[in-house]
């Protein structure tokens, strides 16, 4: 990862004020207030259907909030303001089934405009996919697919990680992997926002918790 241009110790990245969203007259989630700064981890909890994924899509800038305000570094959040600093791992992983993990990651690196492909193998080893680098993704298990997506986090530098259900489909070593990645990211001044519908034990200290109700 390149040397970081220094950000001040804690810069507020995301701030939500009375953020809300409707669909067809039904409130998907109610007025939400939170603030996330660099070096912080936030956990969004809620049952299935409580709007976690919708909230995630609003935070990426793909969806426009209907109520309230969402600020990125003090300005209203739009895609062009925050793209390049945010990495999103969605429920659908964004991997092409016919390509191998290596090819998928080469594409991701190229898409972000970088040319250096030399760290793909290291990243794949780090996430525990040694030996599977050239298998088409459709042949991998759900947990392995998730690991390929996690490898993306290692290869694309970003300040904010938005992870929707990162622990889903992973076994114990996978869960520890996610924790380790999050700890390292936070320790180096990044921020992360994670959703989960189960109870999550995060070892790097107590995260902010926001609960979405139905």
């Amino acid at each position: 990862m390149p040397a970081m241009t220094d950000t001040p110790p804690t810069a507020t990245l995301l701030e939500a004020r009375a953020l809300g969203f409707h669909r067809q007259d039904e409130s998907v989630f109610g007025p939400l207030d939170f603030r996330l700064a660099t070096g912080e981890l936030m956990l969004i909890e809620g049952d299935n259907g409580s709007g976690k994924t919708t909230l995630m899509r609003i935070l990426t800038g793909l969806l426009r909030p209907e109520e309230g305000e969402l600020l990125w570094r003090g300005e209203p959040l739009t895609w062009d303001r925050c793209s390049g600093e945010v990495v999103f791992l969605g429920h659908q992983l964004g991997l092409k089934a016919e390509l191998s993990p290596r090819e998928n990651l080469r594409f991701t690196i190229g898409l972000h405009g970088h040319r250096n492909h030399s760290h793909i193998d290291e990243a794949l080893t780090r996430v525990g996919l040694t030996g599977y680098e050239d298998e088409p993704v459709r042949k991998l298990s759900a947990g392995q697919k998730k690991r390929v997506a996690l490898a993306r986090l290692l290869l694309i530098p970003a300040t904010l990680w938005l992870l929707d259900e990162p622990y889903a489909n992973l076994d114990r070593s996978g869960i520890e992997l996610v924790d380790a990645l999050l700890e390292a990211h936070i320790a180096h001044g990044g921020a992360a926002l994670v959703t989960s519908h189960g109870a999550v034990q995060f070892h790097g200290g107590e995260p902010q918790r926001v609960r979405l109700h139905d």
Binding site: R23, Q24, D25, E26
Partner: protein, 252 residues
């Protein structure tokens, strides 16, 4: 919203206000449309003299031409509303655009049918590929595409915005299609039929035509008010103002 828009216009774009406004306008529009329509028909079918070339057959233009004009006018209204809906996200503009589409499609259909009837009388054929009729046919497909796209979405607002975007693309297309069909007609030299002949029209023919144009416009306004009110109720069904109206009607 832009600052230059007068306050009353801004107020009007709020659903409950527009609902009341449209409810007041609609009966007048229907009544006036009916009166003017009857007057225009009387003037066109009875009072105006027979055309020296076409005899009595030409009288269908009193329906055909206003309907053709409306089919284009409504498309323009739909396009402008769609633009406002996409750029400024005005809910009312979305509703107006989508409510206009079926009305416009109906006028286009009537234009095609009356054009076909006229063609049958004039040249013995039920259909002819002249520039105007062919352009109207493509316009009908554009309308139907917008309507179909709107209904394929479950979220009404998203459907309205998407179909509105399609309508805007179509607007660019309508002059292109007309131009290409005109060129195509000259290429094939077949029918340089002009449904509206170069003959200047006698004044006794013009005033029924203009009256009918006014009547159809009023009909459109009336129909639009009715449809928009219904769509607004459906769209805002969870809101308080709708509930109050429902309670009031239940008590009445």
């Amino acid at each position: 919203m832009a600052n230059w828009i007068p306050l009353w216009l801004h107020k009007l774009s709020s659903p409950p206000v527009f609902y009341r406004f449209a409810g007041a306008v609609r009966p007048w529009a229907i009544a006036l449309a009916l009166v003017l329509g009857i007057v225009a028909l009387y003037g066109g079918l009875v009072l105006a003299p027979p055309d020296y070339q076409q005899g009595d057959d030409y009288r269908i233009i009193f329906i055909h031409v206003p309907c053709a004009w409306m089919s284009l006018f409504i498309y323009a209204v739909m396009g402008i509303s769609a633009f406002m809906a996409l750029v400024w996200r005005i809910k009312l503009a979305e509703v107006v655009a989508m409510a206009s589409a079926p009305i416009g499609a109906a006028f286009t259909f009537i234009t095609l049918v009356t054009g076909s009837l006229w063609g049958e009388r004039m040249w013995g054929t039920w259909w002819t590929w002249d520039a105007r009729l062919t352009s109207e046919l493509v316009l009908l497909f554009l309308y139907l595409g917008v309507i179909a796209l709107y209904h394929s979405f479950e979220d009404r607002r998203q459907g309205a915005r998407t179909a509105g975007f399609l309508a805007l693309i179509g607007i660019v297309n309508v002059p292109i299609v007309h131009f290409s069909v005109v060129w195509w007609n000259t290429l094939h030299q077949g029918s340089t039929i002009r449904l509206l002949g170069p003959s200047t029209m006698a004044p006794s023919m013009i005033w029924p035509l203009l009256t009918m144009m006014a009547a159809t416009k009023l009909y459109y306004i009336a129909s639009l008010c009715g449809r928009t009110r219904a769509d607004l109720l459906a769209l805002e069904s969870g809101k308080d103002w709708v509930r109050q109206i429902a309670e009031r009607e239940a008590r009445a």
